[in-house]
Every structure is written in C-alpha cells, then in structure tokens.
Amino acid sequence: MSDIILETRGLSKRYGGVHALEDANFTLRAGEHVAVVGDNGAGKSTFVRQVTAVEQRSAGQVFFDGKEVNFTGPLEAREAGIETVFQTLALADDLDVPSNLFLGRELYKFRMGPFSILDRKAMRDRTLEALKTTAVKIPNVDNPIRNMSGGQRQCVSIARTAAFASKLVIMDEPTAALGVQETAQVENIIRGLKERGIPMILISHNLRQVFDLVDRIVVFRRGRIVASLNKHETDGNDIVSYITGVKGAETADA
C-alpha cells in the first residue's frame, strides 16, 4: 500500500484523566486533500499535535510514507517531510521575512558551527520567489514582521510551509484570522499544493472553504473520529449533524 502517505492506528492522547483524542484511525492517500472538522475541543488540534510530535501520544501507532514513525519532536517530523502551519504561526516577530522563512534551515555562505555566516542575499532572493509563487504581497520583506498585519504574518507562515512542502502539509485553521482577500490568497496557495500533488490535512471551521478545497471530510467529536465522508456524497447539513452529534454516535475509521 505504497500510496498511503499517513496512517494512524488507535492514536490516543490523554491529559491526565481527559481523553482528548481516542482511538483515531486515519489514513491519507498520496495527493489527497482531507479536511478535519469538528467543534472546539473535538480533538482536531490534538490530533495534529500527535502527528507532528509537538506532543507525545499516549497510545497508538503512526505510519508515514510507508514506515512506522516515532518522531521525538516537530523537527524530526519536519525533516521527514511534514510541513505544518500551526495556529500560533511559529514566527519570530522581530525578524524579517527571509529570516522567518528560513528559520532553522538557514542558507550559509560559510559554515563555522553556530557562527556560520548567513547567505542573506540568497535567502532574500528565494523568499521573493516563494512569495511570488504564492501571490502574497508584502511591500518590504526586510522589515520585522512585528510591523505587519495579521494577514501578512499568516501569509508568511503559509508561504514558508508551501515553499518547503515535500510530502505532507498540515494547516491548522490557516484562515481563521484573515480578511476576505487574504483568505482567497491562502485558498489559492492550497489549490497550488493540490496541483503539485502534495497531500494536505486542513483543519477548518469554514465549511464553504472545506467543500471548495478538499476531497474528503473527516469529522471529530469529543476526541473521536465520527465520520469520514467523500465530499460528493455529503453536504453541509450532513456534516453539521455529525459535528453536533445528531448523527454518528459510533467511532468511525477515516
């Protein structure tokens, strides 16, 4: 089954006595875009944090790219090819756009351990290129991002993900804080990923967006996966009834 990119079996996470995520069986195929929806506290972000190893799972297995993986931290997940846009953006406000884009994977002119000399021109050029392909408009990339709007900062974070995307992209509510125009830009970036054949997990509250962008919709409720629906076989009302618990009392496999 080489076309399965990500698979989780019995993935669970408990915080003390709270079962934030229970027995999640999830699969993602090559090139597939899947949305994860659910109410607040349904376990969506918890699920992402286990897959990207920001937190360590309590139980279950994760298979990525054909192998069982036990990432010890988000860096290992990233090195394996999982790029993530976190809700908190993970940007350093006092650094400029190129520095943020290349945070932790800087380009060097000359290597000397921690005192390696940065290749600032190359990073700047590649930043402009990356921003061009994502159609994100930032007037001056040399300014610290502290001075930029929420939308622009979000776009920097997403451009970083899109630029380095290789095997899997995860976006945790990428448009929650954005205006109409900026949301459209982000959606275009996501369509670009689809064209490039890069699989994605999109967490979103916006059902219009979900139906526009993805192939399959997975519904979380109270820490469990309650439905996995092909977008052509469902509609908004159907999804909402799963989210609210009118339908799907049983755990489903996704």
């Binding site: 860096l75 990233r78 953006l89 350093a92 406000d93 932790g104 001075n147 709007s149 939308g151």
Partner: protein
C-alpha cells in the same frame, strides 16, 4: 516571550511610515547631551566641553577629554557587549560584576612576578608552588576559563532548570563575589608581570572594546548565532518548533557573556596593576543600563551592538560632563538613574506608537 496576536487582516502596510532605525534616536540623544554640556560650559564656565581651548595645544577638539570619555566606559562597555546579547535573547545577567571580581583575583594570582625590587613578592599567592613569572597566556587563559565556567553554569541553569534568568544569575552574583573574597582571604593581589600589565595600559582598553564591538556587531548581524539570539528573544516557542536547539543556544550566549566579563576583568586588573575582591561591584547594572539606553529592549528581540556602544558613550559623556562642570559625583548617579528610566519609558512609548501605526 512574545505572544502571537492576529490582526483582523486587511490592514495596509505603508512603507513611508517605516520607523527609522532606533539607533538613530540614541545617536541624536548623544549629540543632544554633548550640545547641552557645550552650551552650559560656554555660558557658565567660559570653557568649551568639546573643543580645545588651551593655547599650547594645536588640535581642534579637546582630545584628552574625548579619550577619557571612551576610556572610562571601555571596561564596563566590554561587559555590556555580552549583556546585550543576553538581553536580546530574552534573558538578563546580574552576575557580570561579580564574575569580574572573581576572575580578576584568579587571573591576577597567575600573573605575579617573583621578585619586587629585589625582594620576594609580598603578595605572592602561589609562592610555594613557584607559579610566578608565568608567560602572560597562562593568566589570560585561566581568567577566560573562569568566565566561561561561570557563564556555562548561568546558561545551564537558565536553559535546563527553567528558573528565571534573574534568579539564576543572582545566585551566580552572590557566589562569584564569595569566591572573589575567599580566593585570597580578602587580600588584594598585586605586582603583575610586565606582559600582563601591558594588556590594560594606556588606550588598550579602548582598542579592545572597539575591536570586540566590531566583532560582535558582525556576529550578531551576519551569523546564525546572531539571528537565533534575536529569534529566541522574539518567540522562543517558534524557535523550538523550527527545530532550533534553544537550550544549547542559551548556554552559548551566557558563556560568551561570561567570557566578555572575564576579559573585562583581565583588562581592569592589568590597568590597575592589582586585583581586589570588591572589583566590579555594580558593573552589571552599568552594563545593563548602557544596553538599555542604547535601545536594547528588556523584553528581548530588539537592540544592537551599535546601540549599546552609543549607550556606553552617553554614559561616558555624562560622567565627563559632570566633571567638566565641576559638579559632585552624587549628581552623576542621580542623573544616571533618571536617564536609565527615561530610556525605558521612551522605548515603551515607541513600541506603542508603532503598534498603532
């Protein structure tokens, strides 16, 4: 650590409202303070602060005064270079002054001559071991090792026990001062070799301070170390998520600060030809003040070596200016205090203004 806030989007960024580099504000403040002294001097003292007024000397500026301005802040300036990096990365270092004391004692005891005017050195620490008249590299390396060790303990405490830097370095401040007193049972250590005495002679402290300032300016601007200093002070969590070993970086930053304190101790003890347990008392606060006046934000993430050097110069100008106006040293300290607070208040206002813009 900075929190991440989301705007509502749709805000437009106007490049014309881009703030000028904050170092310029510090520079203008420096020029303003010099002008005030020049003006007050001309009006009340009938003398110039900046320009040469002696008939027998043929220079435009009062070069003696200019030299003293920078010489008297060079040693605390060297410490401030390290403190700047610590504060930019979101920490604080209260131990630098005590590290100066301890390092000066230890280094000096390896730099002593065997014979003073034909008699055995009365202050010799290692007479029994015969560790005297050692090549200058020995006390320098021993001193730097002391600073590095103190910095490593600071860094490890901050990075791995997660106690606040204020507490970790406060502990080191008290401990290192204890070591300084214990080392020779409170006695001063004197009579260094000529080679050791040469390190801090004349304008050497200035040369060392300026070279180190240039070096660390380049390091902070052009290397990964510099970028990550700012990054950690800006958003530690983001750095961690980006796979940066924040703990290792913090240890390195405190080690560099410790090394710079040790270097200041070597220069200071060499310049004074003696080491005393009370050396460097309050230096940590002067160093922090220089950085803060120079625009280094105590919240981390912002500031520069250029700013700190300008901050140090403001310090030097004020001390010299008060001497020039023949005002008591008491006033110096009062005004220094006011300037430190004013610098932080101005920084806060600037931040607020920018957030609105």
């Amino acid at each position: 650590m900075a929190t991440t806030t989301h705007g509502l989007g749709g805000l437009k960024y106007d490049p014309s409202r881009r703030a000028r580099a904050p170092e310029w504000n510090v520079f203008f403040a420096l020029v303003g303070i010099i002008l005030i002294f020049e003006l007050v001097g001309r009006v009340f003292m009938g003398d110039s602060f900046l320009f040469n007024t002696r008939a027998n000397v043929d220079t435009l500026f009062n070069e003696q005064r200019l030299q003293i301005i920078i010489l008297q802040v060079s040693i605390t300036g060297i410490i401030a270079l390290g403190v700047t990096q610590v504060i930019i990365s979101g920490g604080i270092d209260l131990s630098s002054g005590s590290i100066v004391g301890a390092t000066a004692m230890v280094a000096m005891s390896f730099a002593q001559v065997a014979m003073v005017n034909g008699n055995p050195n009365p202050k010799a620490i290692f007479a029994a071991q015969g560790w005297m008249d050692l090549p200058v590299i020995v006390p320098v390396l021993v001193g730097l090792a002391c600073g590095a060790a103190a910095g490593m303990i600071n860094g490890a405490l901050v990075a791995y026990t997660r106690i606040p830097p204020f507490i970790a370095t406060l502990g080191m401040m008290v401990t290192a001062r204890g070591i300084a007193k214990w080392w020779s049972k409170g006695n001063p250590i004197s009579f260094p070799t000529d080679a050791y005495a040469a390190i801090g002679k004349g304008m050497m402290p200035v040369i060392i301070f300026v070279s180190l300032a240039v070096l660390f300016h380049l390091i902070l601007t052009y290397t990964r170390y510099g970028k990550h200093c700012y990054g950690i002070g800006s958003n530690e969590q983001a750095m961690r998520m980006s796979g940066i070993n924040v703990e290792k970086m913090k240890v390195l930053i405190y080690v560099i600060a410790g090394l710079l304190s040790a270097l200041a101790a070597i220069v200071l003890s060499s310049k004074n030809l003696t080491a005393q347990a009370g050396m460097g008392v309050m230096y940590e606060l002067d160093a922090i003040a220089m950085a803060v006046i120079g625009g280094v934000s105590l919240q981390g993430g912002r500031g520069s070596i250029i700013g700190t050097v300008l901050g140090a110069l403001i310090f030097g100008v004020i001390i010299s200016g008060f001497t020039f106006l023949k005002l008591d040293a008491y006033y110096q300290e009062m005004v220094k205090g006011v300037i430190i607070v004013a610098a932080v208040v101005l920084d806060q206002w600037r931040q607020k203004g920018r957030a609105r813009g």
